[in-house]
């Protein structure tokens, strides 16, 4: 119980900081919109049926915007020197990981909550289906689960922002594949029983990689 309160305190700290600055959210949201726009122009020239590429466009937009947000997650702590404060706090290091991760999940979900309606309007697709929303939630969880850990690493390297997508995207391939497959499946009204493997893959990825991140976070933040 105490542990949960510690996690909640860190999430709350990030949410309050974000509500005051709106740094991360505004950057992610505008960037996601811009990538949707660019795809719209790029594909409009070549693709007959936009519906076929829409799930891919959605997930590319979410990934790119997500990386942008994850980069800020630890860059802010590092620049203002609050990372030391966090590490000195009398909490388990894993509480810091889960706090930062849940904060990132919240920011990404907030961004998606605005991007998806735009998507529904631009592409005329029923993305509000509960199945699609479940996939968005699971995909975001895996993305932030791995991304939070890598963000803590990238911020301590010489390359900083440049390195995070390079570290993150090849590991996230299974999330992207299964999320795109599932989203497409729901949009085409394919029964879930045919795509259940992809859902299992997504869940397995989330569980395995959040567990590894939980175990290895200590090594990343220790000084």
């Amino acid at each position: 119980m105490n542990y949960l309160r510690q996690v909640a305190a860190i999430v709350w700290k990030d949410v309050v900081a974000e509500l005051r600055t709106k740094d991360i959210f505004s950057a992610m949201f505008v960037f996601a919109l811009l990538s949707v726009l660019i795809f719209q122009f790029a594909f409009d020239l070549r693709v007959e049926n936009v519906k076929q590429v829409a799930p891919g466009v959605l997930w590319v937009a979410i990934s790119f915007a997500g990386v942008l947000g994850l980069n800020r997650s630890f860059a802010l702590e590092k620049d203002k020197g609050s990372m030391e404060g966090l590490l000195l706090a009398p909490v388990d290091r894993s509480a810091i990981y889960f706090g930062k991760m849940l904060g990132n999940v919240l920011f990404m979900l907030a961004m998606e909550a605005l991007v998806i309606p735009v998507f529904i309007i631009l592409f005329n697709l029923p993305l509000y289906l509960p199945g699609v929303l479940l996939v968005v939630l699971l995909g975001t969880l895996g993305f932030a689960g791995v991304g939070t850990l890598f963000s803590a690493m990238a911020v301590n390297t010489r390359a900083r922002e440049v390195l995070l997508p390079i570290l993150l995207f090849p590991i996230l391939v299974p999330v992207l594949i299964s999320a795109v497959k599932l989203t497409g499946g729901f949009l085409d009204n394919i029964p879930l029983s045919e795509n259940i493997n992809w859902l299992q893959l997504l869940v397995v990825f989330d569980v395995v990689f959040i567990a590894i991140a939980f175990m290895t976070f200590d090594y990343v933040v220790e000084e």
């Binding site: 010489r158 390195l163 090849p170 590991i171 391939v173 299974p174 290895t216 090594y219 990343v220 220790e222």
Partner: protein, 238 residues
């Protein structure tokens, strides 16, 4: 001590060299042509399969070594494991690129294309990219202690991600031949494995295993020397 281990290593070098020469002979001369292939180019290209699988084994040895060494580094904090981990990655990556290159050379006459986004090819390419990222991560951290810790963590992630990415192969339909286990009915350019082909394959995988181990030992020694030089330089500067 160093001289004696050097002599052992030299013997291993010779064995590895001869084994690979033997594999070249076995694959190009001794191995029979695959029975069910018809076009001349396909028959010739099929012989690269022995190197394709050999590189595959060598790459797997390197990457698995780096995975185990990464875990051992995180648990024991002994720098030697970090040196072994980076050596394993470099060797595994080189052979991994060999797998992609030899596969492409085979795919051109057989599938009529250098590259296709088949899941098995895709996951091999992703694996290579993961380990390129690993080396870039190492390159971007200056402090040796932190570099070793970050690399250890990423090494674990990288290796665990490989089978999960690989899992997607079974879910997606693939045209890549499966010569071990259940054959893939949709594959193109597949070939039956007669006893002679199987023998050559086993031998070349064995030869590449020796080569991989030899190269790994050399690379670890090189890494240790490099660290020694770095250490001496620091002492001189101080």
């Amino acid at each position: 001590m160093a001289r004696r281990s050097g002599r052992w290593l030299m013997a291993l070098d010779v064995v590895a060299g001869l084994a690979i020469l033997g594999a070249v002979y076995m694959a190009l001369v001794y191995a029979p042509d695959a029975a069910n292939l018809t076009s001349e180019n396909e028959i010739k290209a099929q012989h690269i399969f022995y190197f394709h699988m050999g590189c595959n084994v060598a790459s797997a040895i390197g990457l698995f070594t780096s995975f185990v060494a990464s875990i051992l580094f995180l648990v024991t904090r002994r720098r030697i494991w970090d040196s072994i981990a980076v050596s394993g990655v470099e060797m595994g990556l080189a052979f991994g690129i060999g797998v992609l290159a030899s596969g492409s050379v085979w795919a051109r006459p057989t599938w009529n294309t250098w590259w296709t986004w088949d899941p098995r090819l895709t996951s091999a390419a992703v694996t290579v990219l993961v380990y390129v990222a690993y080396l870039m991560l190492r390159g971007a951290v200056e402090d040796p202690g932190r570099r070793a810790r970050f690399a250890g963590v990423y090494g674990v992630f990288a290796f665990v991600s490989v089978p999960i990415t690989f899992l997607s192969i079974r879910l997606w339909r693939t045209i890549h031949p499966v010569v071990f286990g259940a054959a893939n009915p949709d594959s193109q350019g597949s070939f039956g494995m007669g006893p002679n082909i199987r023998l050559v394959l086993m031998y070349s995988m064995f030869a590449f295993t020796i080569l991989a181990i030899t190269l790994l030992i050399h690379r670890v020694r090189l890494e240790l020397r490099r660290e020694e030089v770095e250490h001496l330089k620091e002492q001189l500067a101080a």
